[in-house]
Symmetry: C2
Subunit: 203 residues, 2 copies
Amino acid sequence: MSRPVVEFWYEFASSYSWLAVMRIEPLAEAAGVELAWRPFLLGPVFMALGWNDSPFNIYPPKGRYMWRDLERQAARHGLPFRRPSRFPRNSVLAARVALVGVGEGWVAPFSRAVMHANFAEDREIGEPAVIAEILAGLQLPAAEVLERAQAEANKLALRRQTERAAELGLFGAPSFRVGEELFWGNDRLEEALAWAAQAPAGG
Amino acid sequence: MSRPVVEFWYEFASSYSWLAVMRIEPLAEAAGVELAWRPFLLGPVFMALGWNDSPFNIYPPKGRYMWRDLERQAARHGLPFRRPSRFPRNSVLAARVALVGVGEGWVAPFSRAVMHANFAEDREIGEPAVIAEILAGLQLPAAEVLERAQAEANKLALRRQTERAAELGLFGAPSFRVGEELFWGNDRLEEALAWAAQAPAGG
């Protein structure tokens, strides 16, 4: 019998995606749920909603609140946190590399390392050198992986995945999908996993 | 020694405020926390952010998600729910009456009854007859209370309370305030109460 699957949609520039990426794997394991990692780009999704920047930048009170809430959530979950000096960061390269990692089985540790670089070390994850260093730290052939990540087919795959996100009604990240059921936000991570665990097999 | 206080900011038209109003009292009691009920109007706060309607109406994917999420949350908490045929409803009268109730000690049962009318019975809470019926059901002198609610001083008090919400950095409802600490959303209710319970006395 196959294990239930949760699609995990996340964006490397997104602050609450950071929390979910750092937390999800042991929780999914404990729930007996399989994860389908779905890195995507929130930018085009936000553009379609009429936002040309993060809503946390467009609406200052929301942004002020988010950074304080993030500090509290980091403390609650024992995660090191340093507010990025630039937000949101360019996440296109990281997402392309992550997509390669989905196919090759290292997307989870890569995603955690990128998120840690962005939200705990304030590093420029948009820079190829930073991504290369992260890959090397995971014993991966950085130059080769970066080449595959920047190949036309892989660029197109990320574009398609991002279009798919909008088609599925996603409007933010992280989001979780269980069958047709959509859950939005790091606050719904546990509920999405529990929903999957209770669903009929394959559902 | 005085009990810690949580300011509970809510809006009668707000779907997630409904969940918080229905849930908060026994949770606050269990946490040993005193509640300061702060009914206010989200409309002027939204206008200041550039929204002339609920964001759930302005951004259709957000709205579709919210109604489904609300169904799930209602089931989780065992609350009867019927999607209002009109959203958001005019909540000015209900908020004015609630402010009278803050002074007279019946704001909690009144607020629950109005929320139940709006989100479980699909009733027009903007109509004085509906509010009068709710007051009568609580053994309160409806005509007198409505008169006090519509008096200039009380109207002004609600306007001031709403201005205060914006000054405090509120951008949505429900919100909870513990000292200088702000928590946003029904999802943060438990965390706000725990924060208050752990804070130094008076903090």
